[in-house]
């Protein structure tokens, strides 16, 4: 229990530090920081529905990063997995407008992309950071090509034909249904990681590859499955946008664009803990929703606000990034020590 409290305190200190950094930057630029924070708060309250729309896909792409991270892999491919998931869900909705089916197929499509990166890593030694970044672009342009050439709405040529109404998920008491799905995914993810043999294998692989291997854990399978699982969540992120929020895609894919990368930030903020991810995702979504009030009220450009989000993630996420890299650094140090020992 104690490490959790420690991390929580650490995160709160980090949040205070991030806010202080923002306040200082605001005042240095001649904006009144108190006024800025007031507007930000007002914006979060007023634009709560925008915040709720952003949070579900963000939670899922965070999971897409977090699960492989437990196995010591960096899945930068949440973005590409989300594009593929969104397109697959959309395509299925035209044929069989059932939301559950659409979400499942979307998740599967993302999972396949993650699986591919996992297999490339394990069987061919292609680093997953490189392969997932490449796959992001392949996914982006392929999905765009298909959207522009095959799914275009003749009346609004900048968007696809909408999801037929029976295939859509709506809202319950003002909260999009997909938010509940995303939270359920977090709990599921937690159970898999901490209550199932697969989770133990994944976590052991990440904690010490060599030790896990010698203990008889199939580390290669654990790595591949962790990428598959991450891909499933990434694909689901794209699917929930299409099935539960926008009901279409635009030709620039702007409703999905960036959600995978924001997810990495949210996951780092939550120390990759599946149960903390909803809160970190909510924080980042709140910054965007509240940011609209800052744009309108103080004339601060949207790009500047994105930088602030980056600063918050950076300040808050630095320790968890360090934690993530620690085993690798230790291994490096160990290897160096061993080499020195061997030479003597």
């Amino acid at each position: 229990m104690k490490p959790v409290v420690e991390k929580l305190i650490g995160s709160l200190i980090g949040l205070a530090a991030a806010l202080a950094a923002m306040a200082l930057a605001f005042s240095l630029l001649g904006y009144n920081p108190a006024e800025a924070f007031r507007l930000l708060g007002e914006g979060i309250v007023e634009n709560y529905d925008i915040m709720l729309l952003r949070v579900a896909p963000l939670i899922l792409t965070s999971l897409a990063f977090a699960v492989p991270a437990f196995a010591g892999l960096f899945n930068i491919g949440g973005e590409g997995q989300a594009y593929v998931g969104a397109l697959a869900a959309l395509a299925v909705s035209y044929i069989a407008p059932n939301p559950v089916l659409c979400l499942l197929v979307g998740a599967l499509a993302g999972g396949l992309l993650g699986y591919l990166a996992g297999v490339l890593r394990v069987k061919r030694g292609v680093h997953e950071v490189v392969s997932t970044i490449m796959l992001n672009w392949i996914a982006f342009y392929t999905v765009r090509y298909i959207v522009v050439n095959y799914f275009k709405n003749p009346y609004y040529p900048d968007t696809t034909n909408p999801v037929p109404p029976p295939g859509r998920l709506g809202q319950v008491a003002g909260v999009p249904v997909v938010v509940f799905i995303a939270i359920a995914a977090c709990i599921l993810c937690y159970l898999v990681l901490y209550r199932m043999p697969l989770g133990l294998a994944i976590r052991s692989t990440g904690a010490g590859y060599e030790a896990a291997r010698r203990l008889g854990i199939d580390v290669e399978k654990a790595m591949i499955l962790s990428m598959l699982l991450g891909g499933v969540f990434g694909g689901l992120a794209g699917a929930v946008i299409v099935i539960g929020e926008t009901y279409n895609l635009d030709v620039a894919l702007s409703s999905v664009y960036g959600v995978g990368f924001d997810g990495i930030g949210a996951a780092l903020l939550a120390w990759n803990n599946p149960l903390a991810i909803p809160f970190s995702s909510l924080l980042l979504s709140a910054l965007v929703a509240g940011g609209y009030q800052l744009q309108i009220g103080m004339g601060i450009d949207i790009h500047v606000l994105s930088i602030f989000t980056g600063v918050v993630v950076f300040v808050l996420g630095l320790p968890s990034l360090y934690e993530l890299l620690k085993p690798k650094l230790q291994a490096l140090r160990l290897a160096k020590a061993r080499r020195r020992g061997g030479g003597a």
Binding site: D250, V288, G291, V304
Partner: protein, 434 residues
């Protein structure tokens, strides 16, 4: 361990402050008050001549009017569409004394809830929506808030709504004039093909295509010089690399004049034209939306101008005067919504570029104007200008009125007929043969 974490926090904090400060400083600077006033004074001097009568007639508002401008996804900084809209709003703020605020949506998913919230607040006398992507959100939200006035720029709702004023451009009219000029320049360069690098396959671009092809075929009919048009959709408005590729392909197929219709994408087209020309095969380019001659005056002798700024200004002015009317407002050559770049415009945009430090080395605004003037003299014949003026007059007087295709099929049919030389296929009523 704990000490290390704390140290990391502090390092993070310091780096965060530094990055945050410099990033914000750099990003906010262009919008700093001093720059704004400079830009606006220049705007009013030039655009003032175009819409002089209107600005003079504008009465002083009795109470402060609040206008909110919502940009396209992507927002300011594109040096054409969104920035022109911003210029129009800033001019309205200065000349009409209205309060203007701005916001840019992060994604299309945010558009409906954001518009809904802002409409509900009732704080704004007018919400100006920039660009095509706002069409379906405003169709969903506007009927729920009949008191709220909206202006939709460069797009129209499918059904006219009483509280939404849609400003669309009759791009065909401008592109027809450009087509005549392009065809003439191609023949003066010894070629018989002109090309265009277009953005996405969407209605405004359909209209450009129809006009451009019409202009070229009109030239062919009047002069007897056979000319064909090569048209490419790149599918993007933001990818200069793709624009360059497309331009290279067109040049290889024999196009001697290229018309850029793809926002930032056709900046790559300018590059391709420059490169090929410097290797001895002279190709010329035509800019669009703003006057873009200053980018490379040796190879860009003329631009088509889509005055998004005038549309935004007009929308705000109508609210100030109390003459706001929902439905479609169509802007063309007659209303000052479109036009070929005059030397005065060339100079003004070159001055603007010089102020922002973007003018290429070795050029001054006056030099740009001089080069452009010489290029025009050399590559555009008097007869072509006469044709342009004649066509312009016929368009303004209403003798020539273009069809506006509503579906892709209709657009394809018009293009197919035009390619065969059937000019009337693009017109509402046939031309009188002279």
């Amino acid at each position: 361990m704990e000490g290390r974490t704390a140290a990391l926090f502090i390092i993070g904090l310091v780096i965060g402050i530094i990055i945050g400060f410099f990033a914000v400083h750099a990003a906010v600077k262009p919008a700093a008050p001093t720059t704004i006033t400079k830009t606006v004074t220049v705007t009013s001097t030039v655009t003032g001549t175009v819409t002089k009568t209107e600005t003079a007639a504008a009465p002083k508002p009795s109470k402060k009017i609040h206008v909110l401008v919502l940009f396209d996804v992507g927002g300011r900084g594109d040096l054409s569409f969104n920035d022109m809209a911003w210029l129009g709003a800033e001019r309205a703020a200065k000349e009409l004394g209205v309060d203007v605020s701005f916001a840019t949506p992060r994604s299309t998913a945010d558009m409906v809830p954001l518009l809904e919230r802002l409409s509900k607040s009732g704080k704004y006398d007018l919400i100006v929506l920039i660009g095509f992507l706002w069409t379906s959100p405003v169709e969903k939200v506007a009927p729920k808030y009949p008191q709220q006035k909206y202006a939709l720029i460069d797009s129209a709702t499918r059904k006219p709504l009483p509280n939404v004023a849609c400003y669309v451009f009759r791009e065909q009219e401008l592109a027809a004039l450009v087509g005549v000029i392009a065809a003439d320049m191609a023949h003066n360069l010894g070629g018989d093909k002109v090309g265009a690098v277009a953005g996405m396959d969407i209605p405004p671009l359909w209209r450009f295509h129809i006009g451009y092809l019409f202009g070229v075929k009109y030239y062919e009919k009047m002069t007897g010089n056979k000319t064909s048009v090569l048209w490419v959709y790149t599918g993007t408005f933001t990818d200069p690399a793709k624009g360059k590729e497309a331009a290279m392909a067109l040049i290889r197929q024999g196009a001697r004049v290229l018309y850029g219709l793809a926002g930032a994408t056709h900046l790559g087209m300018f590059e391709a034209v420059k490169e090929v020309s410097e290797h001895g095969h002279l190709v010329l380019a035509i800019g669009e939306d703003a006057s873009q001659e200053w980018i490379d005056p040796y190879h860009i002798p003329i631009s088509g101008m889509k005055r998004v700024d005038n549309a935004v200004f007009r929308a705000i002015e109508d609210v100030v005067k109390g003459t706001f009317k929902g439905g479609i407002h169509s802007l063309g050559l007659k209303e000052g919504g479109l036009g070929l770049s005059t030397l005065k415009m060339v100079k003004w945009f070159a001055e603007l570029a010089a102020k922002q430090g973007k003018l290429p080395k070795g050029l001054t605004p006056d030099k740009v104007v001089k080069i452009v003037e010489e290029m025009r003299k050399k590559y555009i014949d008097k007869e072509a200008w006469n044709l342009v003026h004649k066509l312009e007059q016929e368009i303004i007087s209403g003798k020539i009125r273009f069809k506006t295709p509503m579906t892709h099929k209709e657009y394809d049919q018009i293009i197919a007929a035009l390619k065969k030389g059937d000019l009337n296929a693009a017109l509402v009523k046939p031309m009188q043969t002279s």
